[in-house]
């Protein structure tokens, strides 16, 4: 089943990125973009960005931004964007810091981590489905109220 969730993978580790990409595609996620550094991803970021972001912590040896800095910028520009850390850094301090900064989850890179990440994506997907259902029912109730007002108005005018 195809799942309508847009995902952005931000990682400079090509083999892990490819494995993760193909695993998510096999799990039904077909709208996946790849970014090999935080700067390129941030250029594509916009307000109310509905992409789920999978972010590495250690993004570059050449002095680029690390994952936490990218996370802060994401939360500043688009607070509701879901961010999941997928990192080789098995550090409790970094995990706690990232969750404090607004990350949804922190998963350590491994074979099991790939499966855990897919589960985390399923959770984000469920949240988005619920939100869009809620939005649709809100629009329907407003439409019903508008129709009701119009009916009363029409009834008053033509009586």
């Amino acid at each position: 089943m195809s799942k309508n969730l847009k995902i952005a993978l931000v990682d400079d580790d090509k083999p892990n990125m490819e494995v993760l990409h193909d695993f998510l595609v096999r799990s039904g996620y077909h709208h996946i973009e790849k970014y090999y550094n935080g700067e390129d991803f941030l250029k594509s970021l916009h307000l109310h960005d509905d992409r789920a972001v999978v972010l590495d912590y250690h993004l570059s040896e050449s002095g680029g931004m690390n994952g936490l800095e990218v996370l802060e910028k994401i939360k500043h520009a688009s607070p509701n964007t879901h961010v999941i850390f997928y990192s080789g850094q098995d550090s409790l301090d970094i995990a706690v810091e990232s969750l404090k900064c607004g990350a949804d989850d922190y998963i350590v890179k491994s074979a099991a981590g790939v499966v855990l990440l897919k589960t985390a994506m399923d959770k984000v997907y469920q949240i988005q489905v619920l939100k869009s259902k809620e939005k649709r029912s809100q629009i329907l109730s407003w439409a019903f109220v508008a129709l009701w007002i119009l009916t009363i108005l029409a009834f008053t005018i033509f009586r």
Binding site: P15, E18, V19
Partner: protein, 107 residues
């Protein structure tokens, strides 16, 4: 190799594709690790960077023992302690075996 098996789902071409993806990184990084400035301990920061880069890859492939050795050595350098040749040689050995195994699977 569980994740590669799962992704390739019995397709030998796909399996080779994933193995090659990892080999493209593992082989040159092993060579960098065997360079003189690393073996003599002169460039500790470069060694830490190489270990960091490789540890998540070997973990994804499922080489937990190699991952643990790399993680421990990376941590040691991060704490400001010096990595000695005897710390590095078992890692180089494990990596060499892993690369040889991956290459054999391509044949």
């Amino acid at each position: 190799m569980e994740i590669i098996d799962r992704l390739s789902a019995g397709d030998p071409e796909k399996r080779c594709y994933y193995i090659n993806l990892f080999l493209e990184v593992l082989e040159p990084e092993l060579k960098r690790m065997q360079a003189d400035d690393i073996l003599t301990g002169a460039n500790q920061e470069l060694l830490r960077q190489i270990l960091h880069k490789l540890k998540s890859q070997v973990q994804t492939i499922g080489e937990h023992e190699t991952h643990q050795s790399m993680n421990a050595l990376e941590l040691k350098i991060s704490k400001g302690q010096r990595a000695e040749a005897y710390d590095l040689s078992p890692i180089i050995e494990q990596l060499t075996v892993l690369i040889r195994n991956l290459q054999q699977q391509l044949e």
